[in-house]
């Protein structure tokens, strides 16, 4: 049986890579490899997953130096064929243990960016009519499928430089809400995302867009927020 040499990060912020031998199988995913290690070789390995089908966003890790969703990443697609596989926790997040990161700050930033819907309609109001072909609906749809996996956040240079930067995922969510015509907190949200650590700090390196497993473009969303913020400032609304 062909074996795969896998190097896995063990420890917290301090730690080391430990090598394991895992049987190579067809259509094997990186998550399969990690699960094999945990079940057959070392039950103390800590990692996180839930759905296994690319919906929940909990299994992201650094695979051979690149942040990826491991459940939908084939070993063969990341240079694992006959070679070695290196698996580490996501960058830019505190490590709880082994491959599990503390994602609290990542999600707190969604709240800080007012990444939640704020409407004023009640059940007595009629439905809001939103034309699917409208510019706003198109922009909203383009960014709405985010699963919150943190791959963009771990890939962002600006997050690495300044820990208070809101990051691509939170800003992408804010942009979908800026384009939600039913939402009432537009100016409030623009204020939340345009401060010192908001959308204006983005350097457009496009790593988030390149790495996003859902093929979203947080870069485009952040550019939209920049335009909306400047427009609001010019109109004296900010």
């Amino acid at each position: 049986m062909q074996m795969l040499r896998v190097s896995v990060w063990r420890g917290t912020e301090q730690g080391r890579y430990v090598d394991y031998e895992v049987p190579r199988q067809t259509s094997q995913t990186v998550l399969d490899v990690v699960t094999y290690i945990q079940r057959k070789l070392d039950s103390t390995l800590a990692y996180r997953y839930a759905c296994r089908v690319g919906m929940c966003g909990s299994c992201a890790m650094t695979v051979n130096g690149v942040a990826r969703w491991t459940c939908r990443t084939h070993v063969g697609a990341v240079g694992g064929e006959g070679g070695t596989l290196q698996i580490a926790p996501l960058a830019n997040l505190p490590v709880i243990r082994d491959l599990a990161t503390d994602m609290r700050e990542f999600f707190n930033k969604w709240t800080r960016a007012k990444g939640y819907y704020k409407g004023s309609r009640t059940r007595r109001d009629d439905f809001a009519a939103v034309k699917p072909a409208s510019k706003e609906a198109q922009a909203l749809q383009a960014g709405i499928e985010c699963i919150g996996c943190g791959v963009c956040y771990a890939s962002c240079d600006v997050v690495g430089w300044r820990s208070d930067y809101l990051g691509p995922a939170a800003l992408n969510r804010a942009w979908t809400l800026v384009n939600d015509v039913r939402d009432d907190a537009h100016v409030e949200r623009l204020r939340a995302v345009s401060g010192d650590a908001g959308c204006l700090s983005c350097h457009t390196h496009i790593s988030c867009t390149e790495r996003c497993p859902k093929h979203l473009s947080p870069t485009a969303s952040i550019a939209g927020l920049k335009r909306a913020t400047v427009a609001a400032a010019l109109n004296g609304e900010l």
Binding site: V158, R162, G195, L200, S201, V230, A233, L238
Partner: protein, 114 residues
């Protein structure tokens, strides 16, 4: 907080607007360099072209002002991201640097045009 948001937005806008001005200025500047060196480069030749020329005076004043706006804002981001330097001391130092750029730039413009 609101003040901070407004200041950051205006600074960002000023840097982008000055970049747009600089893009034109740099192109004109580069074309002039290529054109000027064709006849051999000398101080006398440069001065003959620039002395008493109102168009070059206006061009270089705009160029200097755009640089003085653009550079300190860019350095501010570098100071924050690479050195972790934030706060009002950083802003005052960089504002002073902007003034230095204006003084030196206008002095040079003065020297070649007037």
């Amino acid at each position: 907080m609101t003040q901070d948001v407004r200041r950051e937005t205006w600074l960002w806008f000023a840097q982008r607007a000055s970049a747009a001005v600089l893009a034109i200025c740099v192109i004109v500047h580069l074309i002039t360099i290529i054109y000027a060196t064709r006849g051999g480069l000398s101080a006398a030749e440069i001065l003959a072209r620039t002395r008493g020329n109102g168009a070059w005076l206006v061009f270089y004043i705009v160029f200097v002002l755009a640089v003085a706006v653009h550079v300190p804002i860019g350095l501010r981001a570098i100071a924050t991201e690479w050195l972790g330097w934030t706060g009002s001391a950083r802003d005052w130092v960089l504002a002073a640097f902007g003034v230095v750029l204006i003084v030196m730039g206008l002095r040079a413009t003065w020297a070649v045009v007037l």
